[in-house]
């Protein structure tokens, strides 16, 4: 039971981590339309 629950939780976290890292890779740390950005889509991304 404990092992199963642990694998489940670790799995979920790992998945979220992968998703987050992918997102960061794509958008950069400043997160696309970061607060107050007049160029909502462009910042952080390579031009």
């Amino acid at each position: 039971m404990e092992l199963f629950a642990n694998i489940l939780v670790v799995g979920i976290i790992a998945l979220m981590m992968i998703k987050a890292v992918k997102h960061i890779k794509k958008n950069g740390v400043c997160e696309g339309g970061c607060a107050g950005c007049p160029n909502a889509c462009n910042c952080g991304k390579k031009q």
Binding site: N6, C34, N42, Q47
Partner: protein, 659 residues
């Protein structure tokens, strides 16, 4: 098919772009909102690309964003140019029209803000405008999405045609321009190049024959002789005279006089107090009053009493291991939650800043403060990036492109991040809440120190070689005030709130997990007390550096480091390190632990150092993009860090004497 959208700054290009493409680009009521071109597909026809260019007053490139616009028009060969014209400000807007139609690419003029024009009771005769400029004019209102179909129909109909010939200039000039055109052979956009050559444009972008150059030289001399004036003045005057003539037949001004808020807002005695009051209100309301009430509720009740116990029970009930429960509650919820807890304050700040931007007050602030800023070697226009920078440094840094003088621009780029951005706001709120009982002076003082740091840097940097220069001009349009549009303000606020939340869910989330792992295991991968963890070892190595500044603990050093990825991480790190599981029922425990780790003075020094030192990676990237790679970017980073170090060092050591 490619369509380019060109027009004066603040004429509503981006609103039209959003309307035609269904995108969500940023709109504001100040000149220079858009500093880069953007592309989108038409909603009506996906095969058509629409490019939104930065606003330009003329084709003689003067600032960087104007060069972007001009280069696109000349080098990318759009099929049609939509020239958007602010119909409430027709005369000056038509100046660019006279230049655009010269290029030879078919032009459709979109008369924007016709709803406002009608309300003012002003009459514009479209027929005579079309007659005068030889291209179709369409009445639209970008804000209300009126006239779009009409506009697109006109665009299709002019594709492949050339603007009809109109004699804009005096016959002497027309003859001379024609003569120069003939020497250019079968070049594209001959007339455009001929005029630019005559005007002695230094950034022509093409090689021309010696014969052409000689002809240009001779023709210019002849014209200057005929008009007894210099060539630039001749062309500008001729264009405006033609526009004035055309205005006589097609434009009748409304008689309705509206009240100008500037009589009060820019009053000699009231202006500065009102400005100070407005700025104080913005930060006081969002950081100290309403915002705090909401933030406290989220932190203490929602996260502390509902989410953390809930998650604990859930995980325990399915039989998860102790350490994993700790990772979720301390690491993920403690860290990310500590950051997200500040969302209400930020939402309020974003909302109030949007109101300021949309109303037109922003340009007045630049007008108001120019004299002060100039004393410190900066331009009044530097204030716009600074104010934008209170949302996020990255767009603030980019907004500096509207500053004409290269050295002023660089200086603004380097100093903008001194201003506390929205990511630093949670740090301010945390220190203020934990160490000073939420005293109302802490947040405003952070902004005040930011401004002072910028001004002092202005003085210091002006003395160094790369920034020494002639005084830059300040020639700025003051846009008309208008009521902020509710949908626009809410959209801005929502966009910013959303991206803050997304950032918490990505960057902060990953960072918190890493910090939790590093702070709970030692190098032998055994689970240990955080004081013996890997993170403690790493932090202890750097801590001596911060010792003279008053916060030489390994926790504070690590937080400063993680803050480089994103400043919210400082709060997240403290959330993970100081908010241990057994005290999680009470969200205030983080505060209690902070009070043990810091004295008020060292906490304040910690805060100031983190506000002033190197900004987050995102902002550093923006600085690099804006001022170029290499030495100067390194200089920027070094300068900021050393500056922060010296200021904090003085503050701590002087403070020690008194407190």
């Amino acid at each position: 098919m490619k369509i380019a959208l060109a027009g004066n700054p603040n004429s509503g290009k981006t609103t039209l772009f959003n309307g035609l493409t269904g995108s969500n680009q940023y709109v504001g009521n100040w000149p220079g909102v858009t500093v880069e071109k953007k592309e989108g597909k038409l909603l009506a026809d996906k095969s058509i690309t629409l490019t939104d260019l930065p606003g330009i007053y003329s084709l003689s490139p003067y600032t960087n964003e104007e060069i972007v616009a001009r280069n696109y028009l000349i080098n990318e060969h759009p099929d049609v140019i939509i020239n958007i014209v602010d119909a409430t400000n027709l005369e000056r807007n038509l100046y660019l029209t006279t230049q655009l139609r010269e290029i030879g690419i078919p032009v459709v003029v979109a008369l924007n803000m016709m709803d406002v024009v009608r309300k003012q009771g002003t009459f514009i005769c479209v027929k005579s405008l079309e007659e005068a400029y030889g291209c179709p004019f369409v009445e639209i209102s970008a804000l209300r999405s009126e006239g779009f179909t009409d506009l697109l129909n006109k665009v299709y109909s002019v594709k492949g045609t050339e603007p009809q010939k109109r004699l804009i200039f005096d016959h002497h000039i027309e003859e001379h321009v024609n003569e120069l055109e003939n020497t250019l052979g079968d070049l594209n956009y001959k007339r455009y190049y001929a005029v630019r050559l005559l005007e002695n444009d230094q950034r022509l972008g093409i090689e021309v024959s010696k014969e052409t150059l000689e002809t240009a030289e001779r023709v210019r001399k002849e014209l200057e002789g005929i008009f007894d004036d210099d060539i630039e003045s001749i062309f500008a005057t001729e264009r405006y005279e033609y526009i004035e003539k055309s205005m006589k037949t097609c434009h009748k001004c409304g008689l309705k006089k509206t009240f100008n808020p500037d009589t009060i807002l820019m009053n000699k005695y009231l202006a500065l107090p009102i400005f100070a009051f407005v700025m104080f209100c913005v930060y006081y309301i969002s950081v100290t009053t309403i915002g705090t009430i909401a933030t406290d509720w989220v932190n203490d009740t929602l996260i502390g009493e509902i989410i953390i116990p809930g998650a604990q029970n859930l995980l325990a009930s399915i039989g998860t291991s102790e350490w994993l429960i700790a990772l979720i509650t301390d690491g993920v919820i403690g860290g990310v939650g500590a950051v997200l807890g500040f969302l209400p304050q930020l939402a309020l700040l974003f909302f109030l800043l949007s109101l300021l931007e949309d109303s037109g007050y922003m340009a007045r602030i630049a007008f108001l403060l120019d004299k002060i800023f100039r004393k410190f070697g900066l331009s009044g226009k530097s204030f716009i990036p600074i104010l934008i920078g209170t949302g996020c440094s990255v767009p603030g840094i980019m907004a500096s492109r509207t500053i004409e003088s290269e050295s002023d621009r660089k200086m603004t780029v380097i100093t903008t991040s001194f201003m506390p951005c929205s990511a630093k706001l949670p740090v301010i709120a945390m220190i203020s809440g934990a160490m000073f009982g939420g005293a109302s002076w802490v947040a405003p003082s952070a902004y005040f120190i930011g401004i002072v740091a910028i001004l002092i840097s202005g003085l210091v940097l002006k003395k160094t070689k790369p920034f020494k220069s002639e005084e830059a001009p300040f020639i700025m349009e003051l846009p008309a005030y208008h009521m902020p549009k509710a949908s626009n303000v809410f959209k801005h606020t929502w966009e910013r709130v959303r991206s803050f939340a997304v950032k918490a869910g990505t960057v902060i989330f990953v960072a918190c997990i890493v910090i939790w792992l590093l702070s709970n295991f030692n190098f032998a991968f055994e689970m240990v007390d955080s004081n013996e963890s890997m993170l403690a070892d790493i932090g202890s190595v750097i801590a001596p550096v911060f010792k003279p500044l008053g916060f030489g603990t390994w926790e504070a050093s690590v937080a400063t480091l993680t803050g480089l990825a994103a400043k919210e991480n400082i709060v997240g790190t403290f959330g993970v390190l100081y908010g241990t599981a057994e005290v999680a029922e009470d969200g205030m425990e983080i505060w209690a632990n902070l009070q043990q780790a810091f004295t008020p003075l060292s906490a304040y020094c910690f805060l100031i150092f983190n506000l002033l030192c190197a900004p987050c990676i995102g902002a550093l990237g923006a600085i690099k993009r804006e001022i170029g790679k290499g030495k100067i970017a390194v200089f920027a980073l070094t300068y900021q860090t050393i500056f922060a170090y010296i200021v904090t060092f003085i503050m701590y050591n002087v403070g020690k004497v008194f407190f």
